[in-house]
Amino acid sequence: MLLVKVVGLGFLAAVALFAALPLIRTDNWWGLAIVLAVTALAFYIYLSPRPVPLKYLLPGTLFLIVFQVLPVVYTVSTAFTNFSDGHRGTKEQAITAIEGASVKQVPDSTIYTLTLATDGDAATGDIVFLLADPTTQDSFVGTADGLEDLGDGSFEAASPGGKITAADDYTVLTVPEINARQDDITAFSVPTDDGAIKSQGLSAAFEGAPQQSYDEGCDCITDATTGNVWTADDSEGSFVSKDGTQRNLAQGWKVGVGFDNFARVFTNDTIRGSFLRIVVWNFAFAIATVAITFALGLLVAIALNNPLMRGRTIYRSLIILPYAMPGIAMYLVWREMFNKDFGLINRLLHTDLNWFGSTASSMFAILLIQLWLGYNYMFLVITGALQSIPSDLVEAAGVDGAKPFYAFRTITFPLLLVALAPLLITSFAFNFNNFSAIFLTSKGGPFPPDNPSAGSTDLLITYTYRLAFGGSGADYGFAAAVSVLIFLIVAAVSIVSFRRTQALEEIN
């Protein structure tokens, strides 16, 4: 017992050390503080005799907090920002991107043949560009001070005006050496009158100048050629055309927008028009999925729970097969089976139904697929749960002369519910947001011809996906806001049902 504790705590200390070393090396003191705090907490919990439950909860809880709770916190915080494609980074990053994207070759300038070299040692010397002009056949050395002629005879070139292969006073870099000095090379440029010479790969350099540049004074971006001016709008996270004639610059930045995303949910016309209908179907879908998978799972579990029956192992193994297959592929296979002209279902039933073409048949098809994918899971869990029901209780009912079904209804079933009620609630919650079930089958369809954004079998989550990611890039802020709202709905419903099952829990 003591040994287990010593080994366990020793392991813990080793892991803490493993976590701490890189943090110390990178001067990450906040990180180190957290590691120390968590380690101290763990030592306290496992050394002190008192907090027994925590000894059992700590490992799982830590994992849960990091990989489930933190992403949720991140999502919630995103709901109050404009985080989306074009608004992902900081303002500085946006400015860098705008200036970088506008660097153009100076008109009538030449593209030099480049040789990367250093002034002095390859590892520490200053970076220089050895440049050859292929048209004039002149050769230069470019330093941070500017361009200078290379004296005739002080260098060797592959051909007149070709790539310089060696030069007095300078060390020509090999590719691995270049690779090692990458950061210095990226930062290096040779200033010229019209801009600067930058390297482009290993053997080309061009004279370029940014067309758009940022001015801190006016907090704006000016285009040198057209003279257009875009002013920073810190509430929107965009550079906005000063005179209103130009579109916003595409590269924006992330800013807080308060409750704007939530307001959009409530003021958006298409959302208001379809919201109620979608919510109703969403509930129906989730509840029906749980109900039918549970019902079929229960029936099959009970049927196969007959100890007199032969071949139960084979039955069970084959019945859970759908659960072992990759879900995404099976959705696609099912979708094709429901195809009007080429699908297996119409062929077998001798029908000519466009399954995903009408609301009712689309819903039916989706639920059938859900049943297929889900009942095996219920079957598995119920099979296990049946074993844990004390059979003397059931037998007592049998002795009383009760019929098997009566015993099932009064004893087995309520006990099963005790064990499985939470599972049913989680299953409900999972299916409430079951994106793949819709997106890989009906895709939300059928859609009324006059409304391509809200389909008859859309769930809130698929509908949100279309709204948030169907515009000019992904709008995560909006998606996060809808996520929060969806969560509030599911959580409220689940807590209510949870309260109901509380009564059941007291039976035991």
Binding site: F11, F18, A19, P22, W30, G31, I34, V38, L58, P59, L62, I65, L70, V73, T81, D85, R88, G89, T90, T96, A97, S102, V103, K104, I111, A123, T174, V175, P176, N179, R181, Q182, I185, T186, S199, Q200, G201, L202, S203, F206, A250, Q251, K254, V255, G256, R264, E336, D341, G357, K443, G445, P446, P452, S453, L467, G470, G471, S472, G473, F478
Partner: protein, 427 residues
């Protein structure tokens, strides 16, 4: 905002590491001490050249090419093959996390989104290199007057014809429908043609008919750049186009059907059940395997109307703004990836039309089908718009297409789609 995000990340990372205490990770300690963080490169700034590519046959070929580039230059090149469907989103996320690869391969219509996120750099391609690339491909990777990528393959859909069922290439849609119906009547085929539509539509595949009828996606300025304020959906031309498409649909000729999609269209053709298939060159290897005799011709347009334009999509290599090895990345993209022999190597794997002129000339003779794809694209193809606003078009327009083919009124359906697109672009 910035500090908050950073605290969150740091806290998460730190907590995560402390977690190893709870469970596994027994070997972790040894791993760190041996692999450390330096690696075998002399400095922390360089390291391996990291390339991301979508999976599929091109992914394996890229791995080979990357390896050869590394050996030639004495550096390590790592090629990571990611699921193509999420590659763009993952690249943007990685860039945001400050941890992008040095080079990423992707379709040219990513450029708008990659640029608005500041994730890729413009590249300066010397005239000696750009002149070896097909002009349409260069046009595709040009955005806001800058060149952002090095094109390597270009694709467009074509009409693939079972020559046993339909000996002659149709000049018009009407000819094709007649020939298809004849093949069905004679009992040799089950469907007059296989044109992917699907329950939610597919504007990419219907574009030849849409343009032939007079529709367009976005207007183009004089310099070829797309104008987001000029949306073609909802214009009279687009309505005419959809009226013509409607006539081919389920309530009309019955040759365009929602039940045909990219999953079963190819099967219909390789099973010999239809004389005509509208698909891209990426299906040619499958068709070759099926031993069907076939020929490739341009997708025909409506008789007497405008030419039918398939979209041209270009795959290109991009240099990441946040990459750690820009010099090598630029070198790889501009001078190595553009080489004719590299193009040939990629062609062997993908059978997509090479963007390099020399490669195309080299393989054309042995691959008449690919040559025909290229010719069809060069004649009437149009570059698929790469502005980010295009993302707002696909979904509503596709649904409108499916609805019209299912029998809905073209005018009101297209108007609704136009409204939905305008709303999505405004958001």
């Amino acid at each position: 905002m910035r500090t908050r995000a950073r605290t969150f990340r740091a806290a998460g990372a730190v907590l995560a590491a402390s977690l190893v205490l709870a469970a596994c990770g027994g070997g972790s300690d040894d791993d760190t001490s041996s692999s450390g963080d330096g690696g075998d490169t002399p400095s922390a700034s360089g390291g391996d050249l990291l390339i991301w590519v979508g999976d599929g046959p091109g992914g394996d070929a890229t791995t080979e090419i990357g390896k050869a580039f590394g050996e030639e230059n004495g550096v390590n090149v790592k090629v990571e093959v990611l699921p193509g469907a999420e590659l763009q989103a993952n690249f943007v996320t990685a860039a945001q996390a400050g941890d992008p690869p040095d080079v990423v391969m992707g379709a040219h219509d990513w450029i708008g989104n990659l640029v608005q996120n500041g994730t890729i750099d413009p590249i300066q391609i010397p005239e000696t290199v750009s002149s070896t690339i097909q002009p349409l491909a260069m046009e595709a990777v040009t955005f806001d007057g800058q060149t952002y990528g090095m094109p390597y393959t270009m694709n467009n859909i074509v009409l693939i014809r079972n020559t046993d069922l339909a000996p002659d290439a149709p000049a018009t849609v009407e000819d094709m429908v007649a020939a298809g119906k004849k093949a069905v009547q004679s009992g040799k085929a089950e469907a007059p043609l296989a044109w992917p539509v699907s329950d939610t539509g597919n504007p990419y595949f219907i574009n030849p008919l849409y343009t032939s009828g007079g529709g367009y996606m976005f207007g183009q300025g004089a310099d070829g750049s797309f104008d987001p304020s000029d949306l073609g959906v909802g214009t009279p031309g687009s309505v005419t186009a959809y009226e013509k498409i409607s006539a081919l649909g389920e309530k009309g000729e019955g040759v365009l059907k929602r039940s045909v999609n990219t999953d079963n269209a190819i099967a219909l053709f390789t099973d010999g059940k239809t004389p005509f298939l509208v698909e891209g060159p990426w299906q040619l290897t499958t068709i070759d395997d099926s031993k069907i005799n076939y020929e490739v011709s341009p997708v025909p347009g409506f008789a007497g109307l405008k030419p039918a334009s398939p979209f041209i999509t270009v795959d290109a290599a991009y240099v990441a703004s946040g990459g750690k090895n820009k010099t090598l990345a630029q070198e790889f993209v501009t001078n190595y990836w553009s080489r004719a022999d590299i193009g040939a190597q990629l062609f062997e794997a993908t059978k997509n039309v090479p963007a390099n002129k020399d490669t195309l000339a080299q393989i054309e003779g042995d691959n008449p089908a690919v040559a025909a794809v290229s010719k069809a694209g060069a004649e009437n193809g149009q570059i698929m718009p790469s502005i980010p606003q295009m993302a707002a078009v696909w979904d509503p327009l596709g649904k409108a297409e499916a609805a019209v083919i299912g029998g809905a009124d073209p005018k009101s359906t297209i108007d609704s789609a136009a409204k939905a697109i305008q709303a999505a672009m405004k958001e």
